[in-house]
Amino acid sequence: MSMWRFIIRRSTEIVIIMFVIATLTFVLFRAMPSDPAGIMLDPMRTPEKVEIQRKLWGLDKSYTEQYFIFMKNLLHGEFGKSYHLGEGKDVYDIIKEKLPPTILLFTSTTIVAFSVGMYMGRLIAWRRGGKLEYGSTVVGMFCFSMPGFWIGLLIIWVFSFRLGLFPLGGMKTADLWMDEASVSIFLKALDILYHLFLPLTVGVIISFPGIMLMMKNVMLETLGEDYITTARAKGLPEKKIRDHHAARNVMLPMVTVFTLSLVGSLGGSMITETIFGWPGLGAEFLRAAMNYDYPVAQGAFIIMGALLLVAILITEILYAFLDPRVRY
């Protein structure tokens, strides 16, 4: 019962934050000095033409009116049309096309990074003072301080360009997908995995150290608790103390760290997608923002915000199932 209350409360909060994000987007796009009607039209534009265009986009209405229209359109999934891609492609279609690759990359990176980070953190906190701790802490700190795009470029250089082990970019091998029917699903999945490997590796390299080092710290603090001493005094096997008494109690603060790291890795994944030519929403967002394609940038931004919030919500609900303390 209390589980449902928890889910409802958190969902309401998430909806409120989503509302804040949407409002913020509206305000940002209207408060900024650039007039979309001026950008879109040709340099030979006349004031009359600009006026017609403004009317077409509803820019002549009052801000309150525009705000309600904006919100109504959002709820209907209408994000307007792109300024650039061909003859004004629908933003909704762009998002529909680009979202699945992003979700694939984002979730796989998160899951792998978090598993590796948690495992390593637990291990090095336990074997404190050893060579393993020293080595992985140094490597972890170094990776933590690396700019993601730089290590991404180096990895492409070494593994794709020099060694030719992996593709230079993209998500699919064009030849293989030319004739859709003849290729088995298994082969297609394998092809995507093959393309996924390097971006995934880069994502993991930049996000696992933070989780590992945090896990180590929280674990070390827990190991100082009285109940660990009690468990030792009872003569329990070390492995049991580590996995059952220490690691489980560490999970609660780690969930907070996890949700925060999601926010960071979303930003990172945009750049990873761009340099690997991954056909995702993050790369599309960056492209649109850099080319002043505002409808696409706006739609992608809102959807990415929503994706982030959903990911946070899922994590919290999953965790609340496992740990009753979360539900208060």
Binding site: P147, L154, G267, A289, M290, F301, M304
Partner: protein, 303 residues
């Protein structure tokens, strides 16, 4: 000598002793010392950035061009790290980058941590409606997709200056530290020395900023060092995707020029140094932070 002067001197001596004690603990952590070592290296680099342009005009980082070279050349005696695609000296750009990275990183982190300290103090000490409001705001800011947001602002402003980046990074970066500081204030508030300050008639303002704040400062410093790391990385990413200030030679900018000009896979002397510098400078502040953390939280120290 009046008694007041004497009084002041002992207080000053006390402070010196305390600083010495902190320095002793800090030295023992080794990581912190290593961080300071790397940091000194970059401070020297930043200070040296003024020298090359004085030697010859072609060493001016942004527009100094070697008259004989108009393209990428490998390292030589004249150009220690070679030249970029326009014939500009990579080494003097690297020195210039150190100056900007330090400036941006430290300013952004200081602004952000001042914000989080004030919010944490006010929120923790006053509680009630103020606390709820500030904390809800912090929750929202924390879950905002920060990097995409900066990109959008940059795109709408059609390019973004260094100081705008600093402001945006600090506005988006304060909540995490403010939560930790708030919880620390909550526990400090109940201590006897605060109670006695209140009984002796100190105003709330004085209690917060005179009695509680000094106890919070180590924590603020800790979050500042971590803040520098993330600010440096954020600025590098923004410059790399092309949202940087085109009039500033930062390391992210150098990488962007390299990426754009298509020499990525041919000029290791151009790609490696800026990235390595970003990593090491970010690392140095992180290490100083880890050292500080071990002083603040003895449980993390070596057994």
């Amino acid at each position: 000598m009046s008694p007041q002067v004497y009084e002041k001197k002992t207080q000053w001596q006390k402070r010196m002793e305390k600083i010495k004690e902190i320095w002793r603990l800090f030295r023992e952590t080794k990581v912190g010392l290593m961080g300071i070592g790397i940091l000194i290296f970059f401070v020297v680099m930043a200070a040296a950035s003024f020298i090359p342009p004085r030697i010859d005009e072609m060493y001016i980082p942004l527009y100094g061009v070697d008259q004989d070279i108009f393209t990428v050349t490998p390292p030589s005696l004249q150009h220690l790290l070679g030249t970029d695609s326009l014939g500009r000296d990579v080494f003097s750009q690297l020195l210039e980058g150190a100056k900007w990275a330090l400036l941006i990183g430290v300013t952004a982190a200081v602004c952000s941590v001042v914000l989080s300290t004030v919010v944490g103090l006010v929120s923790g000490y006053y509680g009630g409606v103020v606390d709820t409001l500030l904390q809800r705001t912090a929750d929202v800011v924390m879950t905002l997709p920060g990097f995409p947001l900066i990109v959008i602002v940059g795109s709408l402003l059609r390019g973004i200056s260094i100081w705008n980046i600093v402001v945006l990074i600090s506005i988006l970066g304060w909540p995490g530290a403010s939560k930790v500081i708030r919880s620390q204030v909550l526990s400090l508030r109940e201590r006897p020395f605060i109670e006695s300050a209140r009984v002796s008639g100190a105003s709330s303002f004085r209690i917060v900023f005179r009695h509680i704040a000094p106890n919070i400062l180590p924590l603020s410093f800790l979050y500042m060092t971590f803040g520098v790391t993330s600010a440096i990385l954020a600025e590098a990413s923004l410059s790399f995707i092309g949202l940087g200030d085109p009039t500033t030679v930062s390391w992210g900018m150098m990488l962007q020029w390299c990426y754009r000009s298509g020499f990525l896979f041919q000029a290791p002397f151009w790609v490696l140094p800026p990235g390595l510098c970003i990593t090491l400078l970010a690392l140095s502040f992180y290490l100083i932070g880890v050292g500080t953390e071990q002083i603040i939280n003895p449980r993390l120290r070596k057994r």
